[in-house]
């Protein structure tokens, strides 16, 4: 097999290169959102204005409803917009356009509409940004028929899943992990699409199955290392896509381990962990499961002050303790 040359890049750069590659490939792909012409809030579109021009790199007014809705309208006439929400929390101002329009048009119009949009929503806790700039509400969108829900945690996945998203005819919601923008990984010069719905195995073991995604992946990896030292071997997965999610991989794992812990940064109550636990228990039967648990944040808004924020976070230690309690 020919050697593929790879370069080490940050997650943010991986995403930038993926979008750039797709915009070079397909002239109907374009980006709209606040400040995208200056490179985006995070630099994820750096250099795009110079390369692709103002018609395809559109810095918009602070009009979230219209950023979302115009993206849909432009998709309905055959372009492929990437809708940048700047920070996830602002999507609340565009919920009608996302929930009632984008997620519905194909179905409601009997298949006439093709809402091929990508919505990027950098989410999660990030350097004491408090209650309106830190939320993880990805579970809401798994509840929403009509959309694909993606939550990458590595540079490789950010790139490959973005390529899939841009090429998909479905609306794809990408929850970029703000806290992991700087995480590094290696990507190939030609970024290949990563299929939706396939988990990435982080470690193998037979004591317990650990499922997570987004910002908690590095913490889960640390927890696995600590548990391994104590002789507890963990079958750990980064789900990567929350809808559709890799049910078969997780069910197969729990069938072997008999134990399942789902951990996410989002509030535990009503989180997507509940759905995963319920499905796995359904499919394997409760008699075949020794323990199935969730670990998420307490049901609180995210506080500002560093020690208060730390209190709310799911940490490596909390994951380790939770796993040990299940053995």
């Amino acid at each position: 097999m020919a050697q593929v040359t790879t370069t080490e890049v940050t997650l943010i750069e991986a995403g930038r290169l993926a979008v750039q590659q797709e915009m070079r490939r397909d002239p109907t792909v374009w980006v709209l959102g606040e400040d995208v012409a200056r490179g985006g809030l995070w630099g994820q579109y750096k250099g795009f204005l110079e390369e692709f021009g103002a018609e395809r790199v559109v810095s918009t007014p602070i009009s979230e409803a219209t950023i979302m809705g115009a993206g849909l309208g432009a998709a309905l006439v055959g372009t492929r917009p990437i809708i940048e929400m700047r920070i996830f929390d602002f999507v609340m101002c565009a919920m009608d356009e996302l929930v009632n329009q984008i997620a519905k048009v194909r179905y409601m119009f009997g298949g006439q509409a093709k809402p091929a949009v990508v919505v990027r929503m950098p989410h999660g806790m990030w350097r004491n940004s408090a209650a309106q700039h830190s939320q993880m509400l990805e579970a809401w969108f798994t509840h929403l028929p009509g959309v694909v829900v993606v939550a990458p945690s590595s540079a490789e996945d950010e790139a490959g899943l973005l390529v899939s998203a841009i090429r998909s005819d479905d609306p794809v919601l990408i929850f970029d992990p703000k806290d992991l923008w700087g995480a590094t990984g290696r990507i190939a010069e030609k970024i290949e699409p990563i299929p939706f719905g396939k988990a990435r195995q982080l470690s193998t073991g037979d004591a317990v199955t650990l499922v997570t995604w987004s910002a908690l992946v590095p913490k889960a990896v640390e927890a696995v290392a600590l548990l391994t030292k104590d002789g507890v071997m963990v079958d750990a997965f980064d789900l990567r896509t929350l809808w559709p999610w890799d049910e078969d991989a997780i069910v197969a794992s729990v069938k072997r381990t008999g134990r399942l812990l789902v951990t996410h940064e989002a509030v535990e109550v009503g989180g997507f962990g509940g759905e995963i636990v319920a499905r796995v228990v359904d499919r394997l039967g409760p008699q075949n499961i020794k323990s199935a648990k969730r670990l998420g944040a307490p049901r609180l808004p995210i506080p500002f002050s560093p020690p208060l924020e730390t209190q709310v976070r799911v940490t490596t230690d909390k994951i380790v303790a939770k796993v040990k309690g299940m053995l």
């Binding site: 018609e55 055959g78 329009q101």
Partner: protein
């Protein structure tokens, strides 16, 4: 049609006037037929009909090409017919039957026919505005000279997307014609009682979107105004605005008898009927009353046929409920 010699002049194209007339009469026949079918229990769910407002839909769409796009609101039957949608498929959709415009998944409030550029009615007030400006942005990007017409009611101008969408269209000089179909009411409320300031056009102008206010019941006047506005929009002058004043003869939905409204107001409005008004003009131009009857009979026959077909059509197959949600992960949906 029998015609006597008539004077000629601007806006006096007889063929065009007869086309406007026919469109209005077809819309009215569709709405009356749908209402009757609803009363008879044949159509499930509520209907928002546009009786009395036919002049706006017919006048606006007369200047549009098939590839021009249109976004509509909850009261969209007339817009769809004027844009060229097939009334049979529309009626099937109202009945929720197989073969309906949306396969029975949308119903009255979500009538869409992409094959004639009708990008959909909308169940959310002002929901079509951002979609329209985005469609215009996409068309511009694709170097198309098609334009977008965005229809909404006077109730929509109090929602945020109105401000956002007009600002956006003006900013990027997009090919959109905004049409505020001002029937004086928003659902069950007199619109002026909940709207501050000098109204729709003044709001548009404050955002740099120019336009005109006209009598929407004067269908040829709507047509004339739209012809000029569409030429500007297609010519690259950016968005334009039409504020068309009209009146809704019926209640908000098919089940609303509108007892909340002064009957005199409705009676007065009926005197200003856009169809009767054009008949008078056409009469002055030499068209005879029997000719009107022919148009009406044809339109009624067309809609009766649509009703009969819809009534006889099969229900959608239950498994089609699972189709057209999304491609990725679709199989998992059935579980």
């Amino acid at each position: 049609m029998a015609t006597r010699p008539r004077p000629s002049g601007a806006g006096d194209n007889l063929k065009r006037l007869l086309e406007l007339y026919r469109t209005m009469v077809r819309i009215r026949a569709f709405e009356e037929t749908a209402l009757a079918a609803h009363k008879a229990g044949e159509i499930p769910g509520p209907l928002h009909v546009s009786l009395g407002q036919e002049g706006v839909a017919a006048g606006v769409c007369a200047s549009l090409r098939k590839d021009d796009r249109l976004t509509s609101n909850h009261r969209g039957h007339g817009h769809a017919i004027a844009k060229g949608a097939d009334p049979v498929r529309m009626m099937l959709e109202l009945y929720g039957r197989e073969g309906g415009s949306c396969g029975g998944k949308g119903g009255s409030m979500h009538i869409a026919d992409f094959s004639v550029g009708m990008l959909g009615a909308n169940g959310v007030v002002s929901g079509g505005i951002p979609i329209a400006v985005g469609a215009a942005q996409g068309l511009k990007m694709l170097k198309s000279d098609a334009i977008v017409v965005c229809m909404f009611g006077d109730g929509a101008i109090n929602r945020g997307p109105f401000l956002e969408g007009l600002n956006w269209a003006a900013l990027y000089k997009l090919p959109v014609l905004f049409v505020c179909e001002d029937n004086g009411v928003a659902a069950f409320t007199t619109a002026s009682s909940v709207t501050a300031g000098p109204g729709a056009l003044a709001r548009a102008e404050s955002l740099g979107v120019a336009g005109v206010t006209i009598d929407g019941n004067d269908c040829p006047a709507v047509d004339d105004a739209v012809t000029r506005l569409v030429a500007k929009v297609r010519g690259g002058s950016g968005p334009q605005f039409l504020h068309a004043k009209t009146y809704r003869w019926t209640g908000h939905t098919s089940t609303d008898a509108a007892a909340w409204r002064d009957p005199k107001e409705v009676a007065d409005a009926k005197v200003r009927c856009p169809i009767a008004r054009l008949e008078k003009l056409l009469g002055d131009r030499g068209v005879d009353a029997p000719d009107f009857a022919v148009v009406a009979t044809q339109a009624q026959a067309e809609m009766d046929d649509a009703r009969a077909k819809a009534k006889a059509a099969p229900w959608p197959k239950p498994e089609t409920a699972y189709a057209d949600v999304q491609d990725v992960g679709a199989a998992a949906w059935h579980k």
